[in-house]
Amino acid sequence: MIRRFKLVFGALAILLPVMAASPAFAVNPDEMLSNPVLEERAREISKELRCLVCQNQSIDDSDAELARDLRVLVRERLIAGDDNEEVIDYIVARYGDYVLLNPPLKPETYILWASPVVLVLLAMLAVFAFYRRKKRDGSTASASLSKDEQARLDELLGTSKDNGKSE
């Protein structure tokens, strides 16, 4: 019991600081724009852009130096009067489509976008084929138990019932 308590306590001691630290923001106060509308747009755009140093974080989440530079750049473009799309195009012109966390729909990405639909269709086709075959083959398979099997089953069920009563 004490050992279990120790284990739980140990786990908490490790997890609590981690949990407490999780809602940290990479965006520093000094980067933020005073105009709340522009800042909101900047946050929105930053969430769409991949940090190329860490690659699976958005620049909004990342503490990398380059992510910070890009966040500042996004805000500069917004102040210069770019709309959201222009800001994103500006970054894409330098880093390519890879910088977009949401890949655009274009000939190179057709396979990427189509693959989930194709897979679901294939799976449905497979299920359909499976049941059709099962239905067709079903008549030839023996559905009922043979006499011996039935006797064995009765015996087993009978025994288990007796056990149930005696307890």
Binding site: L52, V53, Q55, E65, L66, D69, L70, L73, V92, A93, R94, Y95, G96, D97, Y98, A129
Partner: protein, 178 residues
């Protein structure tokens, strides 16, 4: 019918194995540059402290092939590749320019070159990192090969190794020199 279905997993496996085989040598962390075969961006960078000449796009459009190496004193792989950049500068007979990327202190780049030797025809200091962004730099060191018209023709991400130097960069430079 039964046979063809049994073959499907085998075919799928073979296809997957093929895809993996084709990609096994690829480094997934290397992002292909969109700037290949595009003109180098407009830029004008100040010189290192105590030097006369910085670096600008005009240096890259003089009609000869050139190399632009992005480096920083805080970048450990840059230190590792530095002897090879020196060798490139010696052997390739094209100007190798340096883009000193995001030093905390402008003196750091100078000290670094004083210590390790300076292979660069000219160095521009990119304190803000903005020129780096215009070049699509995301991890120093990076090395660009630029043709006589100022078009970016090749980019290597990460430290130059002997193999990269001999098998990729030098042949590419020779090819562009024509």
């Amino acid at each position: 019918m039964r046979f063809s279905i049994a073959v499907i997993p085998l075919v799928l496996f073979a296809a997957l194995a093929g895809v993996f085989l084709l990609n096994i040598d690829k480094d997934a962390s290397v992002v292909p540059s969109v700037l290949i075969d595009k003109p180098a961006p407009e830029f004008s960078l100040p010189p290192l402290p105590g030097r006369d000449h910085g670096l600008s796009r005009a240096d890259l459009t003089k009609g000869n092939v050139s190399v632009l190496n992005v480096f920083a004193s805080w970048c450990i792989p840059c230190r590792a590749e530095h002897p090879l950049i020196k060798r490139l500068s010696r052997e390739a007979s094209v100007p190798v320019y340096g883009l000193n990327y995001k030093e905390k202190d402008p003196q750091d780049g100078v000290k670094w070159l004083d210590e390790l030797g300076d292979p660069y025809a000219a160095v521009g200091m990119d304190i803000s990192g903005r020129t780096g962004i215009d070049f699509g730099v995301y991890g120093v060191p990076e090395t660009f090969i630029i043709d006589g018209n100022g078009q970016i023709r090749y980019k290597h991400v990460g430290p130059v190794t002997v193999e990269v130097l001999e098998k990729v960069l030098m042949p590419k430079i020779e090819e562009l020199k024509g």
